[in-house]
Amino acid sequence: MTQSNNRKLTIARAMAESVAQEMRTDDRVFVMGEDIGELGGVYGNTRGLLEEFGKERIRDTPISETAFIGAAVGAAQDGMRPVVELMFVDFFGVCFDAIYNLMAKNIYFSGGSLKVPMVLMTSTGGGYSDGGQHSQCLYGTFAHLPGMKVVAPSNAYDAKGLMTAAIRDDSPVVFMYHKRLQGMGWLGTEPGATVKTPEESYTVEIGKAAIARKGSDVTIVSLGLGVHHALKAAEKLSEEGVEAEVVDLRSLVPLDRDTIRESVARTGRLIVVDEDYHSFGVSGEIIASVTEHDISVLKAAPRRVAFPDVPIPFERGMEQFCLPNADKIIAAYREIEAG
């Protein structure tokens, strides 16, 4: 192992490095979005790219998400491999037609005669008082609609590998990165997200969950920032001799149901942690995926720790009241124990 492989990167830098590496070897890759040029992306994931690749391939756009995401689809179908940014996932409402009715469906509508090799990267998550139009995760919203792969890394290693895999994929991939994991100085970051990341190019397979921590007593399934809450909860539980297994989904579509089911089959207990809204989303799907498969493996009713079904409040105390955290996960475990 070279020294470079001991280097730690933030997710932001890992994303930018992946894009840069792909751009160097593939002329068809380019980047579009708001403030991704000079500014390097509000969340830093395109920093340095303008300097290396210039304005043609690193394109700042007007505030016209419908047009430029639609344009990415058109360019992708025409042989390019655009990486396009929707600055906050919360803005999807102004351009969701271009995303879910066009980007996601044209391969199918064309019977497979078209490819749509594009990546839509978008920031998710709250916890820093940015209010109800700038703090959502919307994982369930994107994962529910067929035709797009959806990934959400919890650390820089996965972020780089998933980004490289996404750019090389001939199908559209939505890359949801969590703001509180980006490693932006001005936002504070979860240290666990900044991990050793090889300099050389590599891929992480889209559709494979990771076991972030081994354990035998309860399975905690999560993604993105939630994985870190889960790991913290697991550490605390471990102090009292309860060993939690933490499953990091990494990808919502395809969803690695096998890994989840296999883990729950071993632990017999399930907690799902999701920063997206509680109902009709990720947490329900995970629980259903387990219970419909084999209900006998469960020793207790499954639990979820998710954002309640309310818009995201601005005020810190209110927002924290709603957000998942390690204590809530532990409380959920207590409920399971209590039966």
Partner: protein, 330 residues
């Protein structure tokens, strides 16, 4: 500048081909839908938007396009598809929902894709504009030739996507032309009730690009104006907006009672059907003989019959193939 004789004959032939196509589809569409009309039934189920009357726009524009050029079309795509050179057999098979269709029956008449001639369409108003701008950008970035044309209806000009795409195309100066087929109606809502200006060519000024309005559903005039805009785009001088006065001789979709049309409107339109008019003009101008034109017409009829035969004789897709082609094949 008038089209060349060859272009004129191609335009006439293509208009006739398109009309025969629609006539046959209209007939076949009713198979299995009488005595009770139920859109879900019959040889061709689902919605059906026909283009009768609007052929001049498709041919006037597409006369300037090659296979490598890009067209995005709408929910009313047959005339444009035919003029762009989409594989007629596979298009018809797709409309019938056959395994041999352009997308094996997954798409249907609003979702015709033929990558060989860079043709795509969609059922959401204004949706094709962004992709056309993107394809134009792709050509510019790759240094490859090709102009992208987005066809839309006049009703679509009030959709946000129209504004965003034209601005983006202008800012990026890509080889893109937006062609608005103004048939005066968006389903039952008139242009006057939906659009704050009588003509959309004035909206080009919002993007600092040329705007044109072509009156009279006149294929030669459309050909001329489109030719200029497309040449301009090819020369790297950027996008244009063209609105063309046309009309639909059919209902919005099959089954439309058209109660919203003022009395007599429809009859008056049939009086100015562009196909007999062009035929007469070719004769008057000495561009073709009656026999030549009859020959063209016969050939068009046969071509459509062949496509229908192909569609009818093709197999249905296997139902379980519905689950395939969601993602690109590895």
């Amino acid at each position: 500048m008038q089209p060349s004789l060859e272009q004129k004959l191609w335009m006439y032939e293509t208009m006739v081909l398109s009309r025969r196509c629609e006539e046959q589809i209209a007939k076949i569409y009713m198979e299995g839908k009488t005595p009770v009309f139920n859109m879900a039934n019959g040889t061709i189920p689902g919605e059906m938007h026909l283009s009768d009357g609007q052929e001049p726009v498709a041919v006037g524009v597409c006369a300037h396009l090659d296979a490598e050029d890009i067209v995005t079309a709408t929910h009313r795509p047959h005339h444009q598809a035919i003029a762009k050179g989409v594989d007629l057999d596979r298009m018809m098979a797709e409309i019938f929902g056959k395994a041999t269709g352009l997308s094996g029956g997954r798409g249907g008449h609003m979702h015709l894709f033929d990558p060989a001639v860079n043709f795509a369409c969609s059922g959401i108003i204004g949706q094709g504009l962004g992709p056309a701008v993107g394809a134009a950008l792709s050509r510019k970035m790759q240094g490859k030739p090709g102009v992208a044309v987005a066809f839309i209806g006049e009703g679509a000009t009030n959709q946000g996507a129209f504004h965003e795409a034209l601005n983006l195309a202008a800012v990026w100066n890509v080889p893109f032309v937006c062609v608005v087929e103004d048939n005066a109606w968006g389903i039952s809502v008139s242009k006057a009730a939906s659009t704050s200006v009588p003509r959309n060519d004035v909206r080009a000024a919002s993007y600092g690009i040329p705007g044109h309005y072509v009156e009279g559903n006149d294929p030669y005039r459309i050909h001329e104006v489109a030719g200029e805009a497309i040449a301009r785009a090819r020369a790297g001088k950027g996008p244009s907006l063209i609105e063309v006065e046309t009309f639909r001789l059919a209902g919005h979709f099959m089954g439309d009672a058209e109660g919203y049309r003022p009395e007599g409107e429809k009859d008056a339109l049939f009086e100015i059907d562009p196909i007999p008019r062009m035929r007469q003009r070719l004769l008057d101008d000495g561009d073709a003989s009656d026999e030549q034109l009859s020959n063209i017409e016969k050939k068009a009829e046969e071509r459509i019959e062949q496509a229908i035969r192909f569609a009818r004789e093709s197999d249905e897709p296997r139902p379980e193939d519905a689950l395939t082609a969601v993602f690109a094949q590895a």
